[in-house]
């Protein structure tokens, strides 16, 4: 066994063991009063230690040692290893875990049935860590399924409420389907000799047709877990159903573990890539980005908006990965390094701001008991700190400079701008189209988060609960503040982030982006010969200076006294807050533009006759095309087949014996006839 230095797989594994021990202890302890802060505190400490180990691995270079435990398949054993890629994702996972545990110390007190959450939360964290640590197919799949089941249990924590039971059902079906696809992919990779250790897979590689098949299976398996359209249907159901800090983990971190699975198999295990592999990845990414944000714009449930927005961001990440494949297959290593850096940077960023947003949604839920945006409003007066931190996350996810979302999306677009160098016409045509889709989705994402922030936090309260809201506890605030500070730091100083990802990118593409730390004024450049550059610090300084100048001028030139007055309302000050912009009215123009194609929307206006005193009503119906075109037919086919096969349950004993008998005779006949 390797010595227990913090940067070794053995160390990371002992952290996983500690998390599992916490999970086991939480089973009897979960019913005790005040168990929640203890469990979350223990998770916080363990994740912090694991985060430290991962950061050391990432910055000081990965350890050479790996650990083989005598578990799993007898001739393989359970291999665990940390390379640069695993170290980066371990850092992301444990950063999210630290924040969620910190948030949980406060949020967990409001849990009605803590024994349904407390044991599974540490188990979920342990599962995600194990997936990243695994170095053979068996351990990987086992950890993957463990992670899925633990998160399923968390989704089902409040299984009696609303649609949660259905969400859990859809989730477990999709998760099993994804695991099946990955199982087949690893079966193809391992080959007939059953070399399931990753080292063995790397050594013998895969033939071209089976490699293409593996790519398809991995897109299905990892894509369904990450939420690529059209495999995303479980995500907007399951993520909102879980408690908010778990939603943050599922959306911010578990989808990243799926991205890790994709990168590990396609970039590390599968061997040299063909250029056309980029096409399906790019198309799936671009489609997911636009569809995700469009659906996000149409939702009224705050957490569901955030879940759909996750699909958009995953789409962006997959576009980055598709670009990497396209560049790498053509030998443009510098461009591939840029695209992969952008994708990984966005992985990190999305984990940050999506966690803040889910924490914010949880804070709103705690303060008001409401998730429907149309019953919120005006919370900025009641919850100033939460509002400010959520505003930072909204600006970051809308890719506004100088925050981190802008830096990574800028890098993705820089990579897209390098695509005219590519020789294949398929890529030359597809990549600009995907770029246009990304631009569209970025603009729509900004609209989406203006809507979220405007409806929930601005204006006047739309319900008594929103009027009675109060600020949440210090633990929740500090979790959000920690992540928001990281958002600002990563946005203002993106060069440091890029440099720390460089070793990961170097290991996978054989190149790295130019060392950003050596550039003057802390600016970043995408490729060495590029003329474009971005300086987060300068932008930040400019925005800060101009904003404070404007604020100073306004305060100086305008009256000092704060005066509250009704907003000007065309001379008719109205008493009802329901006359404000609502979530639906804000998104109606976009719904009209895309409605008939994407949503199959139908609007019905019920206008009373003149003299009739009842109010006019407008009724809008939206439909999910992916559900209707893909899932409903599959579900019908399955139930049809099951109906037919059901007759097999009611045969006589003699008929069962005859079935066995005729099967045997048929097989023997086949053996006799077969040459």
């Amino acid at each position: 066994m390797a010595p227990m230095i913090p940067a070794s797989p053995a160390f990371a594994l002992s952290c996983v063991g500690a998390l599992l021990a916490i999970a086991v202890l939480a089973i009897p302890g979960g019913r005790l009063r005040d168990a929640a802060p203890v469990v979350y505190g223990a998770c916080l400490a363990t994740s912090l230690v694991a985060l430290g180990g991962a950061l050391i691995c990432l910055l000081a270079g990965p350890p050479a040692s790996n650990v083989v435990l005598p578990l799993g398949l007898p001739w393989v054993g359970a291999h665990f290893r940390i390379d640069a890629l695993a170290a980066f994702f371990l850092a992301v996972v444990n950063l999210g875990a630290v924040a969620a545990s910190l948030y949980g110390i406060g949020y967990g007190r409001h849990e009605s049935e803590p024994q349904r959450v407390l044991p599974f939360f540490p188990a979920f964290l342990a599962g995600m860590n194990l997936v990243v640590l695994a170095d053979d197919a068996f351990s990987f799949l086992l950890a993957w399924e463990f992670m899925s089941l633990a998160s399923w249990a968390l989704v089902m924590a409040h299984h009696r409420e609303g649609d949660n039971a259905r969400a859990g059902y859809v989730y477990i079906v999709m998760a099993s389907f994804g695991t099946l696809a990955l199982l087949l992919a690893f079966g193809l990779l391992a080959g007939p000799e059953g070399g399931y250790a990753f080292a063995a897979i790397r050594a013998h590689g895969a033939s071209a047709p089976s490699a293409a098949l593996v790519l398809g299976l991995v897109l299905l398996g990892a894509g369904s877990k990450a939420g690529l359209a059209p495999l995303h249907v479980w995500l907007p159901l399951a993520h909102p159903a879980a408690p908010s800090h778990v939603s943050a983990l599922m959306s911010g971190v578990m989808t990243k573990v799926a991205v890790y699975g994709f990168i590990r198999i396609v970039f590390d295990l599968l061997g040299p890539q063909a250029w056309w592999w980029g096409l399906p990845v790019l198309a799936a990414g671009g489609g997911s980005a636009v569809l995700g944000v469009l659906y996000a714009l149409m939702q009224n449930d705050l957490k569901r908006v955030l879940a759909y927005s996750t699909i958009e961001n995953i789409g962006l990440i997959f576009v980055g990965l598709g670009l990497t494949i396209a560049f790498e297959a053509n030998g443009f290593h510098a461009a591939a390094a840029l695209a992969l850096t952008a994708a990984l940077f966005h992985v990190f960023n999305h984990a940050l701001f999506k966690s803040i947003l889910f924490f914010g949604a949880g804070a709103v839920l705690t303060a008001t008991g409401e998730r429907q945006m149309d019953r919120l409003g005006g919370l900025i007066h009641k919850m100033p700190l939460t509002s400010f931190l959520v505003l930072i996350a909204c600006a970051a996810i809308s890719a506004l400079p100088p925050l981190n979302g802008f830096a990574s999306e800028w890098l993705v677009f820089q990579a897209i701008l390098l695509s005219p160098q590519l020789p294949q016409w398929g890529l030359k045509l597809l990549i600009p189209a995907v770029g246009a889709l990304l631009a569209l989705s970025a603009a729509l994402a900004a609209a989406c988060f203006v809507r979220v922030f405007g409806i929930v936090f601005l204006g006047r309260p739309r319900s008594q609960q929103a009027r009675d809201a109060h600020e949440v506890d210090r633990w929740s605030i500090s979790a959000m503040a920690m992540l928001a500070a990281l958002c600002v730091i990563a946005g203002v100083l993106p060069g440091f982030m890029i440099d720390s990802i460089a070793s990961v990118v170097d290991a996978l593409t054989g190149a790295r982006m130019p060392a950003q730390a050596s550039l003057q004024w802390l600016s970043i450049v995408p490729v060495a010969e590029s003329r474009s550059s971005y300086n987060g610090l300068l932008v930040f300084a400019f925005i800060a200076a101009s904003a404070s100048l404007a604020a100073y001028a306004i305060h100086r030139l305008a009256s000092q006294a704060v005066r509250r007055a009704p907003a000007w309302d065309c001379g008719f000050p109205d008493p009802s807050p329901s006359t404000q912009y609502s979530a639906e009215s804000f998104s109606q123009p976009i719904q009209r533009v895309f409605g008939s194609y994407v949503f199959k929307a139908s609007e019905r206006i019920d206008m009373p006759a003149p003299g009739d005193m009842r109010p006019a009503r407008i009724k809008v119906e939206l439909r999910d095309l992916a559900w209707e075109l893909i899932y409903a037919p599959i579900a019908q086919a399955v139930s049809f087949t099951a109906e037919r096969l059901n007759r097999l349950q009611f045969l006589t004993i003699r008929v069962y014996l005859s079935l066995v008998f005729f099967a045997l005779v048929t097989l023997l006949l086949a053996l006799a006839v077969w040459p």
């Binding site: 007759r647 009611f650 045969l651 006589t652 004993i653 003699r654 014996l657 005859s658 066995v660 008998f661 045997l664 005779v665 023997l668 006949l669 053996l671 006799a672």
Partner: protein, 220 residues
């Protein structure tokens, strides 16, 4: 190996198949039991001949087990069950004798073709034995499929097991432990099924397996 050893082994194994055919067309339960006991005797002879030819004394134990249990204990027990249940006059015919015999011949031909092809380079004695053993197994299955009475289905199962023992002794080097455990598992199965028979009889007043399906309200 001498010509004689081979011929005697062939004769005994063929006799086993012949007994299986005789089982197929018995439609009286007592006659069925008598033929079954006779088959067990032939099996015991065949196994002891193998023991003599292969010079494997432990096979004599197997032969003794077959003789004691299958030729004496089980037939006698079944005989008493039939008397106690009062079903010794029952005659059953689900599928006619002619088609059943034709199907049985087809099965024997099939097992010959399959086994002689698959075991092309095996020891000739084992080869013939395996082909006959497969025939006995298939004929036992055929009997289970074509009978309604639970007692005849048990007999079909037991004769199927005779085929398994024949195959096991034909192959050289099968350890005694395996054979003994197979014999005992069959005995246990017999006990379980016998108990079950009385239970079925208590509940449904018949041992016709179709009555179970009628009771279950299954597909008509």
């Amino acid at each position: 190996m001498g010509r004689l050893e081979f011929d005697v082994a062939h004769l005994l194994a063929g006799g086993l198949v012949l007994m299986s055919f005789m089982l197929l067309y018995q439609d009286r339960l007592f006659a069925l039991l008598n033929v079954f006991a006779l088959q067990a005797v032939v099996l015991a002879l065949s196994v002891s001949w193998q023991a003599y030819v292969q010079g494997a004394p432990h096979l004599y134990v197997t032969a003794a087990i077959a003789l004691v249990f299958k030729a004496i204990v089980i037939p006698v027990a079944l005989h008493r069950i039939i008397v106690r249940l009062g079903i010794h006059r029952e005659v059953e015919n689900v599928v006619g004798v002619g088609p059943t015999m034709l199907a049985g011949m087809g099965l024997v031909a099939l097992s010959m073709v399959v086994m002689l092809r698959v075991t092309a380079d095996a020891y000739p004695l084992a080869r013939e034995d395996l082909a006959f053993a497969l025939s006995v197994v298939l004929l036992g299955l055929l009997m289970m499929v074509t009978r309604n009475n639970a007692v005849s289905q048990i007999v079909g199962f037991m004769s199927l097991e005779n085929g398994l023992i024949l195959a096991a002794t034909g192959a050289k080097g099968m350890p005694l432990v395996v054979e003994i455990s197979v014999a005992f598992s069959v005995l246990i199965a017999f006990i379980v099924i016998g108990t079950l028979l009385f239970r079925i009889r208590e509940r449904f007043d018949t041992v016709d397996a179709d009555a179970l399906d009628r009771f279950r309200g299954g597909q008509r």
